[in-house]
Assembly symmetry: C2
Homo-oligomer: 363 residues x 2
């Protein structure tokens, strides 16, 4: 076995989840990521944990979804029960074909998604981590060879997470007490929002592996201005490119997109919270130096900012504060590497991708 | 996809489990049997059931088991919870390598087996079926080409189960009210037992696919005589060949085996019930015409009888009767095709493999 797979499994069990003897662990992994599961089971054995594997293949899901009547959508009780009885959850992504369910009607996926909201909440209530076992389908989606993609993934994952945590904490310490954040890029993006009273979080790979961002939550009504998301993202199997949004009192009042405008419109109209922001994140994992069309990596890319339409990240919304509510969470990305800056309470904290606390910062 | 796989899935969902809309179904299937799971998910979609897939690969299990400290063995709570929340269970066997866990210490498997007795009981309490997706490893264990093995498996599985049920019912109707059964084969087997008061069961593929046997449970103390199990079986990865047992008052008092005598001895000494019989089964699936080293098929082979050491089949033990108790259930096989007969209450019901209710029966 590729030693990088073993090291990946060790980081998951050790750093991300700190697995203890007797921990009941769910391993949610498609059949295709078998090699990673073997390595993970070996690590779980060393720690005397009690694992159980779950997860159907995209091919099986597609076959099911194409026959299923969305009116029969119901809660997957047996999965909820397994989650509730488990202590920790590993989700291992990785696909042979990222477009396997492209010919499933949205209606069916949406109906099952809604019927299973409780499962999503149970996920978020437990210790979990999501990670990527690099597969040819993901490499293809990233427009990379499988070999180069593997190198990319392991570079992003297998790093000194304590050092990364300390690096990111410098920005978290700025964002945490902040009131106003302003993001400016070229002529096309100038957006302000209040984060006053919100906490800031340090993603050093406890829930996502790789991690690599500092993040907080905007006060829902406070967002004003316009933003061009000049890095493409794939959502629901469709690319959204050059999405442009204008906000007033926190809400999107105007929008455009170079591609995927129909999908964008259906996202914005999904529910009451889908026109407001639930997250401001700043990518800080410099080993992620290119887009791969997978948000696990793309949102942590160095020199980027992401804003998410929809559901807020509850863990940085303190008692007494309110973040945005929605059934969606769609991240959109701005390139901050050139002609760009982030201002916090009137002071520039990043210019052209370089932070104030780094060498080469241009005051 | 091979149309036989779809038909196999249809039989499981339709005949074996009679899946209804909204049924919560667990699909316990190793990654290697992916093709069958795709077909099964399609059928479950047609019936608007709610499936969840579970099951780790033998490679992952081995990696885990070799590192796990047996003293840490504990109940897999998350699996028990999933089983209890489900209505129906499909177990799909099929291996790339049937010897994948041969280098795991018995001690570890046994410790986990004992810690998970409750899961075994939960299995038996629900609607379940076990079946085989034909894989190269199973073909190899059967000493067959993969192609020939596939043909064999689908012949045994894809048949008119109503017709098979009616065929078997003729024997069930004889066994059900019977008192004494005697089995004689050559000079080496002459064994008697009471089945008085026990029910008889008709295995027409509700819990095993293929099915194909009539079965009952001996009164534990009643077994007398000797039996040579002249067909080999594989148990715990070891072949038991020409096992010979002598019973007195229901208990094995003398034993021998041409191969696997050590394993046989450890089976007999496992617990209080492991020297007594828990099952008398008569194989009636004539499409199973050769041994394959897998009990799912071997015990249903035409012209055979099997007796099981250990745990009885509770479903044919009526209120007020007592079958044998044990943590084991080990089936052993006698060839009845030549120089053999089965007598029920003094009357021959099968001679040289031909039943009394069939053409060619030699009174």
């Amino acid at each position: 076995m590729d030693p990088r797979i073993r090291e990946h499994a060790r980081i998951v069990v050790d750093h991300c989840l700190d697995v203890q003897p007797g921990d009941r662990v769910l391993v949610d992994a498609k059949p295709a990521v078998e090699e990673f599961v073997v390595a993970l089971y070996e690590e779980l054995g060393k720690r005397d944990a009690i694992p159980m594997r779950i997860g159907a293949s995209p091919r099986a899901s597609r076959a099911y979804l194409r026959e299923f009547d969305p009116e029969a959508a119901a809660l997957k009780d047996q999965k909820l029960a397994a989650l509730e009885a488990a202590d920790k959850l590993v989700m291992a992504w990785g696909m042979e074909n990222t477009r396997e369910t492209v010919d499933v009607a949205d209606e069916v996926s949406n109906a099952l998604g809604e019927a299973n909201q409780q499962i999503m909440e149970a996920h978020l209530d437990m210790d979990w981590v999501g990670t990527m076992h690099p597969m040819p389908g993901n490499a293809q989606a990233a427009e990379m060879s499988t070999d180069a993609y593997e190198a990319f993934v392991y570079d992003a994952i297998e790093k000194d997470w304590d050092e990364q945590r300390r690096f990111q904490q410098q920005l978290v310490d700025i964002l945490d007490p902040a009131d106003e954040v302003r993001i400016v890029s070229g002529e096309t993006t100038d957006i302000r929002m209040s984060v006053g009273g919100m906490d800031a979080g340090n993603d050093y790979a406890k829930r996502n592996l790789p991690g690599g961002e500092a993040y907080t939550v905007p006060v829902p009504d406070s967002v004003e201005g316009e933003v061009l998301f000049d890095l493409p993202v794939v959502t629901r199997g469709e690319e959204l490119a050059d999405v442009w949004l204008r906000f007033e009192s926190g809400e999107v009042v105007e929008f455009e997109a170079d591609s995927g405008e129909g999908t964008l419109e259906s996202i914005l109209n999904r529910d009451q919270g889908s026109r407001r922001l639930g997250e401001l994140g700043i990518g800080m994992n410099r080993d992620i130096d290119q887009l791969t069309n997978h948000m696990l990596f793309d949102e942590k890319m160095g020199d980027t900012v992401h804003l998410a339409l929809g559901r807020c990240l509850d863990e940085v919304v303190p008692e007494g504060m309110t973040g945005n509510e929605s059934s969606l969470h769609v991240d959109l990305l701005v390139d901050m590497s050139e002609d760009s800056f982030i201002e916090v309470d009137g002071e520039v904290v990043q210019r052209n991708g370089v932070f104030r606390f780094e060498e080469g910062f241009d005051h």
